[in-house]
C-alpha cells in the first residue's frame, strides 16, 4: 500500500465489509437449522443431505486444489477410499466409527505426504494423470489384500447395536460436521499466509518464487489438506453405507462429480461448490430414472461452462450483485467510498 499524505480520514484496509459480519451470523444460523433437522424431518431427507454434504466437502477441497493452487487432480478418490478403509479397520479394532473419522482424515493426509513429493514435481498437465495412477495403484493394492476383503469389499462393524434412527442422526451430524469443517478450514486457510502465497503463485509462479514465496510448501499444504478432507468424507461415506466396495469407492466417478460440481458452481470461489452441489442434486433427482443420462448432461454442461463461463454460476452471481459470502480478499477504504483491491 502506498503511504498517503495525511488526510482527515485515513485509509483503512479490512478483510471484509460490514455486511460480511451479517454473513457470518447467517452462516451460524444456517448451520444451527441444518443441525436440528434430524428432529424435524424424516430420515430419507437427512439421508439425501448426507450424500450432499459428502459431495460438498469433496468439491470444496477439489476447488481448493484446482481453483486456488492450480493443481488439477483426478485421483482424489484414492484418499476417499483410504479414509473409508481406515474407518473400517479402526472400527474392527473397537474404536467407535464416528471417532474414527478424524483419525481416518489424518491417515489419508499422511499417505498424501510421500505421494505429494512424487506428484508435485510433475508439470501441472502430468500431475493430473499421475494422481490417477496413484489412485489406481491403491485400488489394485486393496483388491489384492485379503484382510481388507479384497474385491468383495468390507462391512463396517461397531454400529449394529445402535438404534437405526439414532445412527442416521449421528451419521447426518458427522456429515454436516465434515462439510462445515471443510468450508471453514478452506476459508481460514485462504485467509492465512498460505492463501496469500497461493494467490501469488496463481498470478505468476516464477515471480512468486523469486520474491520468496514458499511455492512447494504452499502446494504441499493444500495437497495434504485436500487429502485429509477427502479421507474424512470417505469415513462418512462408509458409515452412511455400512459397506465399502473397492471399485466403487476408488472410482474415478468421484473425481467426475467433484470436477463437474466445482466447474458448474464456479472455480476459484468458496461459494461456487456450494451452488454447484445444489444444482448437481437437483439434476440428479430430476434425471434419477434415466440411468447414465444425468452424467452425460452434467458432463456436457460442465464442458460448456469451462469453455464459455470459466468462473461458473457463482461467478455470474457475484459479478452481478457484487456479493461475497466468504471474503478472502482485502477491501481498501479510502477517504470516500470503498474500493476492492484484491480478491
Amino acid at each position: 500500500m502506498i503511504e498517503s499524505a495525511p488526510s482527515a480520514t485515513p485509509q483503512r484496509v479490512t478483510r471484509s465489509r460490514r455486511s460480511a459480519r451479517w454473513n457470518a451470523v447467517a452462516g451460524a444460523v444456517a448451520v444451527a437449522v441444518l443441525a436440528s433437522l434430524p428432529y424435524l424431518v424424516y430420515a430419507n431427507v437427512t439421508g439425501v443431505l448426507v450424500n450432499l454434504f459428502i459431495l460438498l466437502s469433496l468439491a470444496t477441497l477439489w476447488n481448493l486444489l484446482a481453483g486456488y493452487a492450480g493443481l488439477i487432480s483426478v485421483g482424489q478418490q484414492a484418499y476417499i477410499g483410504i479414509g473409508a478403509y481406515a474407518v473400517f479397520v479402526l472400527a474392527d479394532n473397537g474404536l467407535s466409527p464416528f471417532l474414527a473419522i478424524p483419525v481416518a482424515a489424518l491417515v489419508s493426509g499422511l499417505v498424501a505426504v510421500p505421494a505429494s513429493f512424487l506428484l508435485l514435481r510433475l508439470r501441472r498437465e502430468y500431475f493430473a494423470i499421475a494422481t490417477w495412477v496413484v489412485a489406481e495403484a491403491v485400488l489394485l493394492a486393496v483388491l489384492r489384500s485379503d484382510s481388507l476383503g479384497g474385491g468383495t469389499g468390507a462391512t463396517l462393524r461397531g454400529l449394529s447395536d445402535l438404534d437405526p434412527a439414532l445412527r442416521q442422526a449421528y451419521t447426518y451430524w458427522a456429515a454436516l460436521a465434515v462439510a462445515v469443517a471443510t468450508l471453514l478450514g478452506t476459508y481460514l486457510l485462504l485467509r492465512s499466509r498460505v492463501g496469500l502465497d497461493l494467490t501469488a503463485i496463481r498470478d505468476n509462479e516464477i515471480g512468486a518464487r523469486s520474491v520468496g514465496v514458499r511455492v512447494a510448501l504452499a502446494k504441499g499444504i493444500v495437497y495434504f489438506v485436500a487429502a485429509a478432507g477427502a479421507g474424512a468424507a470417505g469415513g462418512v461415506l462408509i458409515i452412511s453405507q455400512l459397506f465399502v466396495q473397492p471399485t466403487s469407492v476408488f472410482s474415478v466417478q468421484w473425481s467426475a462429480y467433484m470436477i463437474f460440481v466445482a466447474l458448474i458452481g464456479g472455480l476459484g470461489s468458496i461459494e461456487g461448490p456450494i451452488v454447484g452441489t445444489v444444482i448437481f442434486y437437483m439434476l440428479q433427482q430430476t434425471l434419477a430414472d434415466r440411468g447414465a443420462w444425468y452424467l452425460i448432461i452434467l458432463g456436457s454442461v460442465a464442458v460448456l461452462m469451462a469453455m464459455w463461463v470459466p468462473r461458473g454460476i457463482w461467478g455470474l452471481i457475484s459479478d452481478r450483485f457484487d456479493l461475497r459470502l466468504f471474503p478472502v480478499g482485502y477491501f481498501l477504504h479510502p477517504a470516500r467510498g470503498t474500493v476492492k483491491v484484491k480478491s
Binding site: 510433475l122 498437465e125 502430468y126 494423470i129 495403484a137 489394485l140 466447474l263 447414465a292 458432463g299 469453455m307
Partner: protein
C-alpha cells in the same frame, strides 16, 4: 525360458503401448494439451471397428482403414472447435474439458452399447503363431501390432523432420508467435497435429481390441498405460515412448508371471519408482 517368453511378450506388448502413447505425446509436445479422453477415444474406436466389421463383413485389419481416417477428421474438428477454445481460456481448462469429454464418452457408450465387454473378432489371426522353440511361441497378432507401432512412430518422426507441414508443426510447438509471424497458420497446424493424434489412437484402439476385451469403462486404464509409457520414456521423445512402452509391457508381463493379479500393479509400481528416480524420463528430449 518362462522368463524369456515373458520378456519377449512384454516387449511386443510395449509396441502397442507406444502406439497408444504417441498421440498423447504429440498433442502434448505441440499444443501442451494432455487429452484425458485419449483412452476413451481408443475404446470408442474399438466399438466403431466392431460396427464396421459386423456391418460390412470385413476382416479386422480393414476396419482400421475406415476408423483411423474417420478419427483423423473428428480430431481436426475437435481441436478447432473444442480444444482451441479451451486453450484460449487457460491451459488448465483443456484438462477439465477433456476430462468432461472422457466421462461423456464413457456414459454415452454405456447407454448405447451396454456395459457388456466385447472383443474384436480376429478370425484365423487369433490363434496363429510361430514356434521359436518348445516354450517360446510368438503370436502373429502381436508381431503385426508391434510392426504397425514401429512404422507409425518412424513415419511420424519422418513427417515431423522432413515434411513441410511437419516442420510447421515443429515451428508451432517451438514458438507459437514466431511461427505465426512467418506465416504458419497455427490453428490449422494444431488441427493437423490433433488429426494425426486421433488417427493413431484409433489404430491403437483397434489393436487393443484385438488383444483384449473392452467395455465402456475401459478407457481410463488405457490412458494411464499410454501416459506411463510417455513419462517413463521421457516427455516429447517418440523413441523414448517406444522404450517406455516396452519397459511397461515387460513389467506387466513379468508381474503377471509372479501372480496373475499383480501384472497391472507391477506396471504402476515400476512407473512410480522410475518417476521418483528419473522424473524427466529415460530419454529426456524434445519432440520438436
Amino acid at each position: 525360458m518362462v522368463w524369456v517368453n515373458a520378456i519377449v511378450q512384454g516387449i511386443l506388448l510395449g509396441g502397442l503401448y507406444a502406439l497408444f502413447a504417441c498421440g498423447l505425446s504429440l498433442m502434448f509436445g505441440v499444443m501442451r494439451v494432455v487429452n484425458l479422453a485419449h483412452g476413451d477415444l481408443a475404446v470408442l474406436a474399438a466399438y466403431l471397428a466392431l460396427a464396421v466389421i459386423t456391418g460390412l463383413h470385413v476382416p479386422v485389419l480393414w476396419s482400421a482403414l475406415v476408423v483411423a481416417p474417420l478419427f483423423g477428421v473428428v480430431g481436426y474438428a475437435v481441436q478447432r472447435f473444442v480444444i482451441q477454445r479451451s486453450l484460449d481460456v487457460s491451459p488448465l481448462t483443456t484438462l477439465l474439458v477433456t476430462f468432461g469429454l472422457s466421462i461423456v464418452i464413457q456414459n454415452v457408450l454405456l447407454e448405447g452399447v451396454s456395459a457388456n465387454s466385447r472383443s474384436l473378432p480376429t478370425g484365423w489371426l487369433a490363434s496363429a503363431s510361430f514356434q521359436v522353440n518348445s516354450q517360446l511361441s510368438i503370436a502373429y497378432e502381436s508381431v503385426i501390432v508391434f510392426s504397425v507401432a514401429v512404422v507409425v512412430l518412424s513415419s511420424l518422426q519422418l513427417f515431423l523432420s522432413r515434411a513441410r507441414l511437419g516442420r510447421q508443426v515443429r515451428a508451432a510447438a517451438d514458438d507459437l508467435e514466431a511461427a505465426s509471424i512467418v506465416g504458419v497458420n497455427v490453428r490449422h497446424v494444431y488441427g493437423i497435429a490433433a488429426a494425426i493424434a486421433f488417427a493413431t489412437v484409433a489404430l491403437a484402439g483397434v489393436a487393443f481390441g484385438m488383444y483384449s476385451s473392452f467395455d465402456p469403462a475401459a478407457g481410463p486404464q488405457r490412458l494411464i498405460f499410454a501416459f506411463e509409457a510417455v513419462v517413463i520414456g521421457g516427455v516429447g521423445s517418440l523413441w523414448g515412448t517406444l522404450l517406455g512402452g516396452m519397459i511397461l509391457g515387460v513389467a506387466q508381463v513379468l508381474g503377471a508371471q509372479v501372480d496373475s493379479s499383480f501384472g497391472v500393479l507391477a506396471g504402476h509400481l515400476v512407473f512410480l519408482v522410475l518417476l521418483a528416480l528419473r522424473p524427466n524420463g529415460l530419454i529426456p528430449a524434445r519432440l520438436a
